[in-house]
């Protein structure tokens, strides 16, 4: 170069040049941050971080290449295009994390959205760097290529260090996204003011301010957005959500419909829970001459307890539920105690927070009626509560002349699972009488009465909103599509039920 020997004058680092180099730095940093965000997010949502990181990085680099290549078709107005592209990146990249979170529960092809986003950002970033070099050459900056590349690489380093050390631990993904979007847009705006012919870019300035405001609002509302993301996975508005030591407890409400979800599984809807709980409790109590002491295993919502306490003869009711957070919630919250009519704080009630299996193995008392209301056998740990070993403990807990009722999943959707519960109860030496009821929010639901002796086919039932004598008698008929079929014994060492349950329900949901 002609002026190579001349001492470096301050004029060569003019304000526009500095601003342009700063943009190179910010563009590189932001680009890498968006890419890391997409990879991390994909690892969280889809699992398998190695695959997610390599495919996202691959897609990103590929898109950058295409962007670079396309830059050759830009023949004029490089600065204008550069600023516009930068604003676009700010907008897309800044909202990417929040957007993906909100999209995840509602769209079917999440990967398509993810890679579309990555490709778009990659393309625009790839377009920017060559544009930047050309603009710099116009302001007669020396060593354009090496300067831009240096800032580009330093920016990448900054991003890769900041991301794990500062951004993820302190800001989280959604906020990080917005923050870097803001940085992107701010640099674009600064550039517009510093460049010599800046007066021409009125539209771009307005757009920049708009994008900045939008991202700023997003940043401030990040917390709420996160909650929406969870809310979006439920069909109804979430009014309460907490993680206990054992599970995620979520309560939703729409109008008068109150719902409880444990780990995302619906436990009841206040619209039709009376059908489920009357069916669970009343047929059993109807068959005990004079039920005085009753045990409920599970059922921390107190709704089965409410049904039991409708019997004035009941003198003591013991409820064993794993999770103190659930029983506390259902004994203290007004809208919930209205539903269970304060059953959990009734003087006859004793609430024990313990693991049902351990408690049953150690228990030495017998009960006139035992209501078994555990969650569905969705995993091996809950599956243990449906095994022959557990039912042998259950058998021991039933007083002479007493009875048990077991919630046993849907005989329509999962007939083999339902009849596995029946077969297993029999293998444990109990006599059984299966029945079913229709609960709209669950579908056709199954229960099984079990006792140490024969069980009466019919008995005078306490009339409720759902059950009268005729209905109660009808529940014991099984039409052919739910009729008994051969089923294995569910044992601790085979967990046949969990496998069948999963098979039948996933076929149904597919």
């Amino acid at each position: 170069m002609a002026d190579a020997g001349r001492p470096r004058s301050t004029s060569s680092a003019s304000a526009p040049a500095v601003a342009l180099l700063a943009s190179a730095f910010v563009v590189a940093t932001c680009g890498l941050i968006y890419e890391l965000l997409a990879s991390t997010l994909a690892s969280y949502l889809l699992g398998d971080s190695v695959t997610q990181f390599s495919t996202v990085i691959g897609a990103y680099l590929f898109a950058m290449g295409i962007g670079s290549w396309c830059s050759r078709y830009v023949r004029q107005n490089e600065l204008r295009l550069f600023v516009r592209v930068e604003l676009l990146i700010a907008l897309i990249g800044g909202c990417s994390a929040a957007g993906l979170f909100l999209l995840f529960p509602v769209i079917d092809h999440f990967r398509v959205a993810l890679y579309a986003l990555v490709l778009a950002i990659g393309f625009f970033v790839g377009l920017e760097i060559p544009l930047l070099m050309r603009i710099l050459r116009d302001v007669e900056f020396r060593e354009v290529v090496s300067s831009v590349l240096t800032f580009d690489y330093v920016g990448a380093l900054a991003a890769s260090l900041l991301f794990p050390l500062v951004l993820m631990p302190y800001l989280g993904m959604v906020r990080t996204g917005f923050l870097f979007g803001i940085a992107n847009a701010a640099v674009a705006l600064a550039l517009l003011f510093v460049m010599r012919d800046a007066g021409r870019f009125r539209l771009e300035k307005l757009a920049a301010i708009f994008v900045l405001a939008l991202l700023g609002a997003g940043f401030i509302a990040s917390e709420r957005l996160q909650r929406w993301a969870e809310v979006a996975s439920y069909q109804e508005p979430v009014v309460y959500a907490v993680s206990s030591r054992f599970q995620r407890i979520v309560i939703t409400r729409r109008g008068d419909d109150l719902r409880l979800y444990l780990n995302g599984n619906l436990q009841f809807s206040s619209r039709d829970e009376y059908r489920y709980h009357e069916a669970l409790v009343q047929p059993a109590l109807a068959r005990v001459a004079n039920p005085r002491s009753v045990l409920i295993l599970g059922g921390g919502d107190g709704l089965a307890a409410r049904e039991v306490l409708r019997h004035p003869g009941v003198q003591s009711l013991t409820l064993v539920d794993l999770d103190p957070d659930v029983t506390r919630l259902f004994s203290q919250t007004a809208m919930l105690t209205a539903l269970n009519r304060g059953a959990l704080t009734d003087p006859r009630m004793r609430v024990i927070n313990a693991d049902g299996f351990r408690w049953a193995r150690e228990a030495r008392t017998r009960y006139d009626a035992v209501i078994v209301d555990f969650p569905d056998p969705v995993d091996f740990s809950v599956g243990k509560l449906y095994t022959e070993s557990f039912y042998r403990e259950l058998k021991r807990l039933i007083a002479p002349g007493g009875i048990a009722a077991v919630q046993s999943t849907s005989p329509l959707v999962a007939p083999r699972a339902f009849w596995t519960v029946a077969t297993t109860l029999e293998a444990a030496g109990l006599q059984i009488r299966p029945y079913h009821a229709y609960v709209p929010s669950f579908g056709e639901w199954g229960f099984i009465l079990a006792a140490n002796g024969p069980i009466a086919p019919s008995a005078p039932v306490l009339t409720g909103r759902f059950l009268d004598q005729a209905t109660a008698n009808r529940m014991f008929d099984f039409p052919p599509d739910m009729a008994r079929r051969p089923a294995p014994v569910n044992r601790l060492d085979n967990q046949a039920l969990v496998r069948l349950f999963d098979e039948e329900w996933s076929r149904y949901e597919a």
Partner: protein, 536 residues
């Protein structure tokens, strides 16, 4: 009744991200933990010698030196036969040897041995023990019924392979035709061996190994390495070889190239568990591992066990023996005169303390192991198969982890203890032992933590402590020629000295330790003319 899985994951992931999630890795605080192991100071003291001369003198019938599974089995057998005149000396403050356990606020957990497969029909003595301990609880159709609470609950094992967990330990998806062919060929070969009987009419392979056939056509398998045997058959499938490497390291702490083909095949062809309800291929396990069995045997002989006693010299005195043991608490040597001595310590220790009776033999080599007990706030999860008792990664140098609370009385727990295992088999045993001694606890903790988080990134932030346990001479190595050579020779001693240790069969297994303990006790009673009914 169920929300879609995708929706659920979305919600959960959102929460996880808010909490700072996986990227806190670099500012991770090291979890607390302890570094311990088979008592090094006492072991060294034994190697250095220089114990004081005896100042206390006792007499007993039979001395059992060593309170691992073999020593305790000997004691149990004597007690069952109504022979009470014996004393057991154990170097550590607790009996159990490799079958010891630890406990913290969350759970009991094994420090070494953690399971026992359902017994073969041949293993009469073992079945007798299991019946007496209430593990075999009855009989159905002529087959033993095992207590369902002690059979490993489903899911027994899962493998982390290509980013997903799969049931079982052999990957079934994403493998090639050659892999399938080799897996099937290997399977057919070991199935044939399992059913095969030698010319002497004995099963080709069984447990205890001593009941196996002596047919020379089978014993030649002990002269070559397992790796070589596989090569000869051209079974090169990386999937098969990785699984076999896992198996050899799991049972023997040794690489396939250093294990004899006989031992390698024995792993797959020696077990024919005999049980009702199709439980023959199941294993028995407990939160505290095999310490359950060791403690139950020790409880059978209260008052006969002396802990914290280092046996350092054993010698013959006419037709009797004297045994010098150092009482660690009182810092004095006690000389015990006995009518018989059962040495239930590793062979290299026996050769050191009883040089006149037991010949040192370089053929006895030992694999070093590292065990870490990791206390976590929540149960591990992962994509694919649900949490199992035994969780193994296809790509890790470790053998994965077992879940202590899997077999516990609770259906659901908030936290648990994961027992993580790694034999240092990739290097020579001596340099493995040096590593065990020299590397600081922080190194081991990071190795364990990194390995665990690769399998279970979901445990990020949930690790509360990592307790590291070092086993320098953990397991005897069944190298080519060892089982049917050096081990057989070593077992022959001159009465009234009898040896009892799993070293003598070359297979470090509960069944083998139990067999040798029982055998030594019966030999001692025969020598002392105490009447008994043999269980062997």
């Amino acid at each position: 009744m169920k929300l879609s899985r995708r929706a659920l994951v979305g919600g959960a992931a959102g929460a996880a991200v808010l909490a700072g999630g996986g990227w806190a890795a670099l500012r991770r605080r090291k979890p607390p933990g302890t570094l311990a192991g088979a008592d090094l100071a006492r072991g060294h003291r034994l190697a250095k010698g220089g114990f004081p001369a005896p100042t206390r003198f006792e007499e007993t019938g039979v001395v059992i030196a060593g309170g691992g599974v073999a020593g305790l089995s000997a004691a149990w057998t004597l007690a069952e036969a109504g022979f009470d005149g014996f004393t057991l000396f154990e170097l550590e403050d607790e009996t159990g040897g490799n079958a010891r356990a630890g406990r913290n606020a969350v759970s009991a957990y094994p420090l070494g041995a953690h399971y026992l497969p359902v017994a073969n029909q041949d293993a009469r003595a073992l079945r007798h023990l299991l019946t007496r301990l209430g593990i075999i609880v009855g009989e159905k159709g002529g087959l033993p019924v095992y207590d369902p609470y002690q059979i490993c609950a489903d899911l027994e094992e899962r493998l982390f392979h290509q980013g997903r967990w799969h049931e079982g330990l052999i990957p079934r998806n994403g493998i090639g035709a050659q892999d399938r062919a080799d897996l099937a060929a290997f399977d057919a070969a070991v199935t044939a061996f399992a059913a095969h009987r030698g010319r002497d009419g004995r099963p080709a392979f069984t447990i205890p190994a001593a009941y196996s056939s002596r047919d020379p056509d089978l014993l030649v398998l002990d002269t070559i390495s397992f790796g070589r045997w596989l090569d000869d058959r051209e079974w090169h499938s990386p999937v098969l070889r990785a699984h076999l490497r896992y198996a050899m390291r799991d049972d023997y702490g040794t690489e396939p190239d250093h294990v004899s083909a006989w031992a390698g095949i024995h792993y797959f062809a020696g077990r024919r568990g005999w049980a009702a309800d199709g439980a023959g291929d199941k294993v028995l396990t407990w939160p505290e591992g095999n310490a359950r069995l060791a403690r139950a045997m020790a409880a059978r002989v209260p008052g006969r066990i002396r802990r914290g006693r280092i046996v350092h010299a054993v010698a013959r005195d006419g037709d009797r023996m004297w045994i010098d043991s150092f009482d660690v608490a009182r810092e004095e040597t006690v000389r015990t005169t006995a009518t018989a001595a059962i040495l239930a310590m590793p062979h290299f220790v026996a050769a050191r303390v009883a040089p006149g009776e037991v010949r040192a033999d370089k053929a006895f080599t030992y694999a070093p192991w590292l065990v870490a007990n990791i206390t976590v706030d929540r149960l591990p999860t992962g994509k694919g198969a649900q949490l199992a008792w035994d969780n193994v990664s296809a790509t890790s140098e470790s053998l994965g982890y077992v879940v202590a609370t899997h077999q516990g009385p609770d259906a659901r727990t908030a936290g648990t203890v994961l027992s993580w295992y790694m034999p240092l088999s990739a290097v020579e045993p001596a340099s493995g032992r040096r590593q065990l001694l020299e590397r600081p606890i922080e190194d081991w903790q990071s190795i364990v933590e990194d390995d665990l988080l690769l399998m279970n990134p979901d445990l990020e932030g949930a690790i509360r402590s990592i307790d590291v346990w070092r086993w320098g001479h953990a397991m005897v190595r069944p190298t080519p020629g060892f089982i049917w050579g050096a081990a057989q020779r070593a077992a022959e001693t001159r009465p009234p000295v009898f040896l009892a240790h799993s070293d003598l069969s070359g297979l470090s297994l509960f069944e083998e330790a139990h067999y040798h303990g029982t055998r030594a006790a019966e030999a001692a009673m025969r020598h002392l003319r105490h009447p008994f009914e043999s269980l062997l």
